[in-house]
């Protein structure tokens, strides 16, 4: 016999699956699709096209995005000769011509021109070369270290036509060279498009990513040249050492101050605390960190400024973390407690002669803890990402600092890994919150 709680949990867990799919999809769209290959960012602008192609190959960026048989290659970028000769500028035998409709490259009669590969196409692979051409007389392809199943001759055409040459490069040895030989008449070429054939239709970036995730492989960091999972595992310790004290210390202090506010409702201490909370909330987080570092560590010399060698190094960041979060938490907890205090049963308790402190601690606090609890549980995933800024400023080698460095060095795998794990943890905490709420609050109906 399944209890209602068990079936509720089951339903919520099942509902997490589409959310998980959504998270995977969004991280994929952001980092793989929108970002494109980070090769240029990582290797630098002057990297050779071949180095970038190898980088893409190792990370799986040179596959088709979702599905398909053909994918681009850096051996030849899509060439459009309507504005300039482009890659064929220096080629002998090819001349750029244009009229009001656009431009093209013309081969003189009996002239020849090689396809300008930036680096030799991969050996033993099938490629497709699409080209737009026009010519009074037929022309022909000449292939070296490559063969093609189709005809080498290109029939004449007075109008612009698109044709395709499918070829396979030699398995090993010398690089493939494709030469276009014009026949008795001039031959015009307007566009070139090279595509590489992949192993099978489902070999795409998406399946590559999903496969990696299924193996719990989050990729390799390009900056540190280590597996992302290792980096995450090492970084989580320092992050937790920072955020757990902030979390507990901040919560306890905020609850205590909120109780003071509720006790001295609408009198001076309450008003001062509320105003103070708003001011504290308005101070920018950066200013907390900088002022704290400057005044307490540099001027006051009470704390070390930077580093992660002893617990003293954590004291100042924890203090700053608590102080900066105090304002918002205090306001929220105070609101929750005052909401409780306006309820009828509290009025009854006062009427029965219970002291204000007694009412607060015995009645208001336990009932106010329900929304407070759910609010704090949902904050648990933020413990994981650490505080990006606190860690950067204080040199704490946690996940936050790792993420900031990764973003500055365009280390896509690390950022993607941190975002993914963070999102999954948030989903878990969200489930936990709902469960806590369902267990603790008897008014909640489990739907």
């Amino acid at each position: 016999m399944t209890s209602p709680i068990k079936s509720y949990v089951l339903r919520r867990v099942l509902y997490m699956i589409p959310t998980l799919a959504g998270i995977v999809l969004i991280t994929f769209l952001l980092f793989d699709v929108a970002g494109g290959s980070p090769a240029a960012m990582v290797l630098g602008k002057n990297a050779s096209a071949q180095a970038m192609e190898e980088f893409d190959e190792s990370k799986g960026f040179n596959k088709p995005v979702l599905a398909g048989l053909w994918t681009g290659t850096r051996a030849l970028e899509d060439a459009d000769f309507s504005r300039s000769a482009g890659a064929l500028s220096g080629a002998t035998g090819a001349r750029f011509m244009s009229d009001h409709g656009g431009g093209w490259v013309r081969l003189a009669p009996n002239g020849a021109c090689a396809v300008p590969f930036v680096f030799p196409p991969r050996p033993g692979t099938v490629f497709s070369l699409r080209f737009a051409y026009r010519g009074e007389r037929p022309a022909a392809w000449a292939l070296q270290n490559a063969d093609t199943p189709g005809p080498l001759e290109i029939p004449a055409s007075a109008e612009w036509r698109t044709a395709e040459l499918i070829f396979r490069t030699a398995a090993a040895g010398a690089p493939a060279v494709l030469t276009l030989r014009a026949g008795a008449g001039a031959f015009d070429v307007r566009a070139l498009r090279l595509r590489r054939r992949v192993a099978h239709g489902w070999d795409s970036q998406l399946t590559h990513y999903l496969g990696q995730l299924a193996r719990l492989d989050l990729g390799v960091s390009t900056a540190a040249n280590r597996k992302v999972t290792d980096l995450l595992r090492e970084g989580i310790g320092p992050s937790l050492a920072l955020t757990v004290p902030i979390f507990f210390g901040g919560t306890l202090l905020s609850i205590a101050l909120a109780l003071v506010c509720a006790y001295t409702r609408n009198r001076l201490p309450d008003r001062l605390l509320v105003l103070g909370a708003v001011v504290l909330m308005s101070v920018n987080y950066l200013v907390w960190i900088i002022a704290g570092q400057y005044l307490l560590a540099y001027k006051g010399r009470w704390f070390p400024i930077w580093g992660f060698d002893s617990w003293r190094h954590l004291a100042l960041p924890v203090l700053i973390g608590i102080a900066s979060g105090l304002g918002a938490n205090l306001r929220f907890y105070r609101t929750v407690m005052l909401d409780e205090m306006y309820k009828d049963y509290v009025r009854t308790a006062f009427a029965k002669g219970l002291s204000p402190a007694g009412v607060l601690l015995k009645h208001v606090l336990p009932n106010a803890l329900i929304p407070i609890l759910t609010n704090t549980v949902i904050a648990i995933p933020f413990l994981y990402t650490g505080s990006l800024l606190l860690e950067s400023f204080f040199g704490i080698p946690g996940l936050g600092g790792l993420s900031v460095n990764a973003i500055n060095s365009a280390d896509v795998d690390v950022v993607r890994g941190v975002v993914l794990v963070g999102a999954v943890l948030y989903m878990g905490a969200s489930l936990l919150t709902d469960l806590c709420y369902a267990v603790v609050d008897p008014r909640v109906k489990l739907r």
């Binding site: 101070v283 987080y285 900031v404 973003i407």
Partner: protein, 314 residues
Amino acid sequence: MNDVGQSLWTEAWRELRRSRLVRASLWTLAVFAGAALYGEIVYRWYSIRDETPSYQRVNLQERYVPPSFLRHPFTGPSLAGGFRQLAHHPLGTDNLGRDVLQRAIQGARIAFQVGVITSLIAIPIGLILGAVAGYFGGRLDEAVVWLYSTVACLPGLLFILALSMVVGKGLLGVYLGIGLTTWVGLCRLIRAEVLKHRERPYVLAARSLGYGPVRILFRHILPNVFHIVIITFSLRFPAAIGTEVFMSFLGIGVQGEPSWGIMIGNARLRLWQGVWWEMATVTAAILVVVLAFNLAGDALRDALDPRLKARDNT
């Protein structure tokens, strides 16, 4: 006291003006908007003439000039000279001799821009998705709930930074990053409200009159939930400013223009050398603007939230 019923907006406005603190906040925000406008005019002036703006011109002879009121301006022979001294670099200069006050005004301009544009991105998305989900229900509702649950799971600041990493440095990354991640709160609230309003008699009446759903949503329901939009805007604006400060500080947001975040980054190193006025100016500016927004926003929420009204009357 006037017993005749007045619209929510006029009553709220009257209540807002009652508190001195809120009035001061509103005036502060007006000054902020004015400074932003002035900054924009200065910026356009220089960009039309294609000159280096005065706040960007490097003047190494005037580095580290302290604020004018600390420089004993009135010790000279003439009063007019004293005022001139007071007006010359009133808040000092930074490490390259650039005037701090002018740069702070430009920072206000950028902050204002960020707040407005990110709200223009986030609010329509949240509003439309929430309204559509709440009104039509069914599959559409499930899809919207799935979408915002997913977006809500992503770690906020990190995702915004990642988006800027992908889009490239500069203000566009800031706008898209903040705009595309902060619409979730509004969407949830609007959806809940529209769900409640859908069952109200006036909506039933409109439906039986044969009005289409779009008309009902936009001309009947939307005005009744619009106060949520206003409140959300007053909360999102300072949050967007704060996030932009982080991003510029980390070198990801604005490039080249003196945003408050970049100024903090510059000023931080000077602090250790004893040059405190740049940091103090920017800190004070951010604090005052965000504080004003928070105070005014709180008062606005109290004035516009019908449930709180009911409690105040007990």
